[in-house]
């Protein structure tokens, strides 16, 4: 009988930390906080993944990328488990991930500012009237929201009123 050396879950986490998010390739799947668990079930490696947004078209690509990365490391029996509860939140984006987003030109989420449906109430309650998203390029706080939804559901479109660059803001959810 052949002896199989199983990588530890910690090793697998480390491998996954090198798999880029397909839509924002500067951050990894672990930076994004969508890998919820890595565990062995007998001889099968079970990776639990949570979707960001319900309709995120990257979900299928993410699963393929995880599978490809782990197969390349010699994992034969692999199961990807989808878990929707607790629902993904941008609070799970790592500090390193936030720095990478900023360097890439995307303003990272401002924790605690998720929408609750009460438009004016929310902005007033949290920011004294104006949710300020600093420009990831020049750091200016003179910025204007152009649209609630940017290039993907997870982002909003902003414009910097000082350096005049448009940029994406990763919305808090």
């Amino acid at each position: 009988m052949a002896t199989v050396t199983r990588p530890s879950p910690k090793e697998v986490w480390d491998w996954l930390s090198h798999v880029p998010d397909p839509e924002i390739p500067v951050i990894s799947l672990t930076d994004l906080g969508i890998i919820r668990d890595v565990a062995w079930d007998d001889d099968t490696l079970v990776v639990t993944v949570t979707p960001t947004y319900s309709g995120c078209p990257a979900t299928a690509v993410i699963n393929l990328d995880i599978e490809k990365a782990l197969r390349e490391r010699g994992i034969e029996k692999l199961k990807l488990k989808r878990q929707i509860s607790p629902a993904w939140t941008t609070d799970w984006i790592s500090e390193a991930g936030r720095d990478k987003l900023r360097a890439y030109g995307i303003a990272p989420p401002i924790d605690g500012t998720a929408a609750d449906g009460r438009l004016m109430g929310r902005v007033n309650r949290m920011t004294g009237g104006n949710l300020t998203v600093p420009c990831p390029r020049c750091g200016s706080t003179h910025t204007t929201k152009v649209s609630q939804f940017g290039s993907t559901p997870c982002k909003a479109s902003y414009r910097c009123d000082d350096c005049l660059e448009p940029f994406d803001y990763f919305k808090c959810i």
């Binding site: 979707p51 319900s54 309709g55 995120c56 929707i84 609750d116 438009l119 649209s147 939804f149």
Partner: protein, 283 residues
């Protein structure tokens, strides 16, 4: 063979199943009695998000501004993603092996349970946003209530979807206010949209015996219980938009039991064409 059903036939779905069974050798499943009310309740949610998602996606490439085009496409995407979860669960509850895709692509109009408001044609941009706002305000209350469902599968979908729908509602509220309290022309169009759509809002809060059964089991919310919070949001936003809420309580209804306007057939012809013409096609 039974005669062709029309919209006024009360047991239209049964007639249709009979006609389908008589004309071709396919099994058209009906759910088990115990799970039927739950299955129905899930279709009522999932079909509304599906049809609205499809309607909103019709704007893709046609919006008045690029940012709005992208925003509408993203709202549609969220709704379709939520539909996959709701109809996926509906198929699981039904227990006949039907997937979310089977339910979306292989049912006919009389088996759809969406609210009539979501199948209304898009009209102009203001009309689309008014429909979105009236639905979003209801949708968020519905999801908040479903977060307390006795069925954990319902609760977890609702919690996830509510985070997304909160953004939908903030966006549609913002635009309804800006257009209502905008120019004479935009105000006129938003008021006209409100008057045209208002009679379609009452259906959101109507209950029948199936809602009552699923609500009694704690699986879904009693639709009538969502009304006060919806009215508060609608009054606040329409007030800020300087729009006048129409009087009169007349409500168009029928969507929740499969009696639809002619518009749904056109939507399905478009949405289902590929799977009907090339069954099982994938890419």
């Amino acid at each position: 063979m039974p005669s062709l059903p029309d919209m006024n036939t009360p047991d239209v779905a049964e007639l249709a199943r009979g006609a389908a069974a008589a004309s071709r050798a396919t099994e058209v499943p009906t759910p088990d009695a115990g799970q039927e009310a739950f299955f129905e309740a899930l279709l009522r949610i999932g079909d509304s998000t599906l049809i609205l998602g499809h309607r909103v996606s019709e704007w893709c490439g046609h919006s008045p501004a690029l940012e709005e085009d992208i925003a509408l496409a993203n709202v549609a995407l969220d709704l379709i993603g939520q539909t996959q979860m709701w109809l996926g669960l509906a198929g699981e509850v039904e227990g006949k092996g039907r997937s979310a895709d089977d339910l979306a692509y292989l049912r006919d109009a009389w088996d759809f349970r969406n609210l009539l408001i979501v199948e209304r044609p898009n009209g102009d941009f203001g009309h689309t946003l008014m429909r979105q706002f009236l639905f979003d305000a209801y949708h968020l209350e519905l999801l908040k209530a479903l977060a307390g469902s006795s069925d954990p599968r319902v609760a977890e979908i609702a919690v996830k979807a509510a985070k997304e729908v909160a953004y939908h509602l903030e966006r549609s509220s913002d635009l309804v206010i800006r257009l209502g309290d905008g120019t004479d022309e935009s105000h006129r169009r938003m008021q006209a949209a409100l008057e045209a759509l208002w009679p379609y809002t009452g259906e959101m809060f109507l209950s029948d015996e199936k809602d009552a059964e699923a609500a009694a089991a704690g699986r879904i919310a009693d639709p009538a219980s969502l009304r006060p919070a919806w009215e508060r949001t609608v009054r606040d936003v329409l007030g800020a938009a300087t729009l006048t809420i129409p009087e009169g309580a007349f409500a168009h209804k029928g969507g929740k039991r499969g009696v639809h306007t002619e518009h749904l057939g056109y939507i399905l012809a478009d949405m289902q064409f590929l799977q009907r013409a090339y069954p099982g096609a994938t890419w």
